[in-house]
Amino acid sequence: MNNATGGGLMTVLTIAALLVAHFLLRPLLVARPFAPDLLAGALMLAALHVRPGTAAVVGFGAGLLEGAMALEGMGTLAATFALVSYVAARARELFFADSALFLPAFAFVGVWALHLGELLAVGAPLDWFGWLVQSPVSAALTALLVLLVERAVTSRPSAV
């Protein structure tokens, strides 16, 4: 197994682990709006490493499962997560990425956008406090988590 393949496998396992952790800890996390969003973190990691189409499929699957857990927004969450994941993966390709600030900024904006999409997808009235205060804090913590995971897991970029 060469380094690129090993790194790719590690990334896939990390994304899967984050998703499993999100669904296992969901009852705790949804009650704490400031907590890092593991599902969003997993989708941002996927958007960093896989092709935009694959990122959309991962987002679609995660959205379906999230809708089944929430009992709200089944389908619309999947569509929203697929769209945000695709846009995030495309943004990675389009923007200059050779900067130390790129990864945290990318994850922060991506998670914040995902939270807005999630609110709109479940048809909840826009909660300004949640969107302007809670969500950015959660997005910042998630960006930090993505940064740490990214540094711990991979030493070089890989394409799956």
């Binding site: 959309a56 499929v57 929430a70 990425a97 909840a124 949640g130």
Partner: protein, 270 residues
Amino acid sequence: MAFTGVSEPGRGRVDLAVTVLCVLVGTLIGVLTPARRLVLTHALRSSVLAPVLLTQEAVARRTRLSARLAVLETERDSLARDLIEARQALEENARLREVLSLGPRPSDTLVAVELEPGRVPGGEDQTFLVRRGSDDGVRAPAGVFTARGLVGVLRSSTAHATRGQFWTHPDFRVSVRTATGTASGIVRAGDDPDQPMMILEGAPYQTDIPPGTVLYTSGLGGLYPPGIPVGTVRSVSAVESGWEKSYRVEPAVRPEQVDVALVWRRPAGP
């Protein structure tokens, strides 16, 4: 770090097509009828999500069991007392119906179900899933309650699963009355998500409902059996000049306190 991910020629269109397909399928699922979405929800919860849900349930049971033991023992004692009293009342009722030539009392049915709450991030418990459906005698619409009071309503059902709304759901409404029947109205969830209170609307303007008054289901509409506690009036919320009053009502049951409840199946009509 450099995440360049340069696309191969032509792959961009494939990626876009895959994404459009995902969005279309997602939107299509989103516009399905609630019963059809419920089939998909139940399928996912029974397969991919089953290990996660089983783990969550095991942890929740272990955590809650010791805390609930004293409450359960108290409930059991009071139920035993109520059962003895109810048996006497039923015998008296049967004798009276016989004297009045009314025939036997039509019997309703209660089905015990476990509720699996669903919650959107940052929101309150508003919906729940019951892993029993029309094949098990659980059919929507039907009222859901515990010994302490009203919990919610079943909205859509399939053969093996049913989806319901807690009273906290914005669409929830129930017709209520006071114990004496002097005032009645419609109860819905309050507007402030941070304060899990109910609102009683449509109460008569001329009748004051003092704080501490317990509201019960009126039984109108046939969704809920009459006499189930809904909540306790706490204060006046709003007064429509010369027309009606609204009251803030403390709920008898909070969704997070419920894991097992009863579904009411009304007796068949004559």
